[in-house]
């Protein structure tokens, strides 16, 4: 059983950074879950449809757990955090604001995100705040399946000459300038590092991630992601696509505010 935030309050110096970290991670998982679940019923193969849906549910479950932890820290509830903010208050990485796109775009986005998330989670394993360390321990076990799936698909697209490879290269070209936004430095981050919650700063984690990507992309002859465009605004300026999405996912709640669903 994970330890709760109430039972184990974090050091006061770390609270601001923790809230920013949890919000960024929860929003990442919540938003990528939307584009993944858009394949429901229309994926390239029925079996793959079911697989993609499980990945989307995992992401949603991870978001729910992260929102839950943040809710304990901020004395609210997970649904309020997920649903009741204005579009500008969401802190997900800009990488995830791109439209679903074709299958190659989805694979490219998932690969860039999952590999970055893996590096982020590794830096949180065994951290000094028990409730988060407990949760991360569980997330890491679930993420293994995601890594297996996305690694396999990247190889398949990259090594299939012609259309698959071309589409993958095009997708990576589009997403590349936003790929590093998962590692956008967070407000309050130095305290997280100083208090041993986050092992190293985001900038160092990004360098690690780029090194890992480089060796894989070199082998597969894929274009390396360029330096992040507009790195200070990596988790803001979500654009019209997200505003539309926000309108969709709040439509039922807004139709009857305060109702129980």
């Amino acid at each position: 059983m994970s330890r709760s935030a109430a039972a184990v309050p974090p050091a006061p110096t770390a609270v601001a950074g923790l809230e920013a970290l949890l919000r960024s991670m929860a929003d990442d998982e919540f938003v990528i879950g939307f584009s993944d679940s858009e394949w429901t019923g229309i994926a390239p193969l029925l079996e793959e449809d079911i697989a993609m849906s499980s990945l989307a549910q995992d992401e949603l479950g991870h978001a729910a757990a992260l929102y839950g932890l943040l809710a304990e820290l901020t004395d609210t509830d997970a649904d309020a955090l997920a649903y009741d903010r204005e579009p500008g208050d969401y802190q997900h990485a800009r990488l995830l604001d791109h439209g679903r796109g074709d299958w190659a775009m989805t694979i490219a986005r998932r690969y860039l995100y999952e590999t970055a998330d893996a590096v982020r989670l590794e830096a949180l394993v065994g951290g000094s705040w028990a409730p988060l360390a407990d949760l991360v321990g569980k997330l890491v076990r679930e993420e293994r399946y995601h890594q297996m799936h996305i690694g396999s698909w990247l190889e398949r697209l990259a090594t299939a000459e012609g259309e698959p490879r071309d589409r993958l290269r095009a997708a990576l070209g589009t997403l590349g300038p936003d790929a590093g936004t998962v590692f956008t430095p967070l407000p309050g981050e130095p305290a997280l590092v100083a208090d041993g919650i986050l092992a190293r700063p985001m900038a160092e984690l990004e360098a690690d991630w780029r090194a890992r990507i480089t060796s894989v992309f070199d082998r597969l002859r894929l274009p390396q992601p360029p330096p992040t465009r507009d790195p200070e605004r990596g988790r803001t300026d979500h654009g019209d696509a997200f505003t539309w999405l926000h309108g969709e996912f709040t439509i039922v709640r807004r139709s009857d505010p305060g109702a129980t669903w």
Binding site: L45, S53, Y67, E163, W261
Partner: protein, 331 residues
Amino acid sequence: MTDPLALDPVLAPSDRASGGAPARQHDEAYDAWFERFEAHVMAGGKVESTDAMPDEYRTAVLRFVEMHANSELMGVLPEREWLMRAPTLRRKLALTAKVQDEVGHAQLLYRIAEDLGKPREAMFDDLLAGKTKFHNVFHYPTVGWADVGMIAWLVDAAAIVAQQALRDSSYAPYARTMRKICWEESVHIMHGRDVVVTMVTGTPAQRAAIQDALDRWWGPLMQMHGPRSPRDKDMDLRWRIKAKSSEELRQEFLTIYVPRIRELGLVIPDAELRYDDDARQWHYTEPDWNELRTVVTNHGPMSEARLEFRRLARADTAWVRETILAAPQAA
């Protein structure tokens, strides 16, 4: 789910699902074998995918399973748009899992049909060309979250009544799959009922939305199992591919679910609906079989839009199937 034969009384010959092996000139040896086969299935004997079976039986099973598979696949679409709009994290998870199960059921059923000799791509071709059918309920629009609850509860309930009656089908792969599907569907019904009960005990607007959803879905639900057809002409019953007739399924649905609907204070929009203790059956306003015919021949409110959505999505992913997930070569 209803089977194609149940729709035959309302469909013109040109609209019936393709299938029905041409009549053969049988010789004595074949006739004797055919009789033994019939005796086998009529006595409760089972048939596996690798067994020898008459073309008529194979065709009947294939047509039945294919329509069921098509319905699971098309059934994803009415609910799919609400995945994005689910109002809480838990509801979103539940709905995503439910819709995933429907795709899973489509996979299970198309696999059965594939093992009977029809390639998956050919079945998609026929579905999208309107040559094969899918159930009426999936041709209608969903207008709000109340519809999502109502479908998950009552449409799935009507389906499970039909599916439970298939768990002992003579075609054993189908029987086994039905047991797995019934187990999975029971969770969907609970999710649907939970949404409905939550809204019924919620705000006045939520209660009104649920009653409105019931008002709109009751007609299609009553049509869903299909019109009565004569038992003696029903080869699917004779060969025990299915165990119950359309009317038996409808009566069973009413018996279980009318009390559960009424206990929530909802009004079923049929003034004639009542249980006759003497006849031991439900009386109801005759469903609109013209509407059923119009809808299942792809003239329903959402038929063409949903088929077109599928065609576009299929075209969009064709490049993956032509390269990495290539269909098997025709045998």
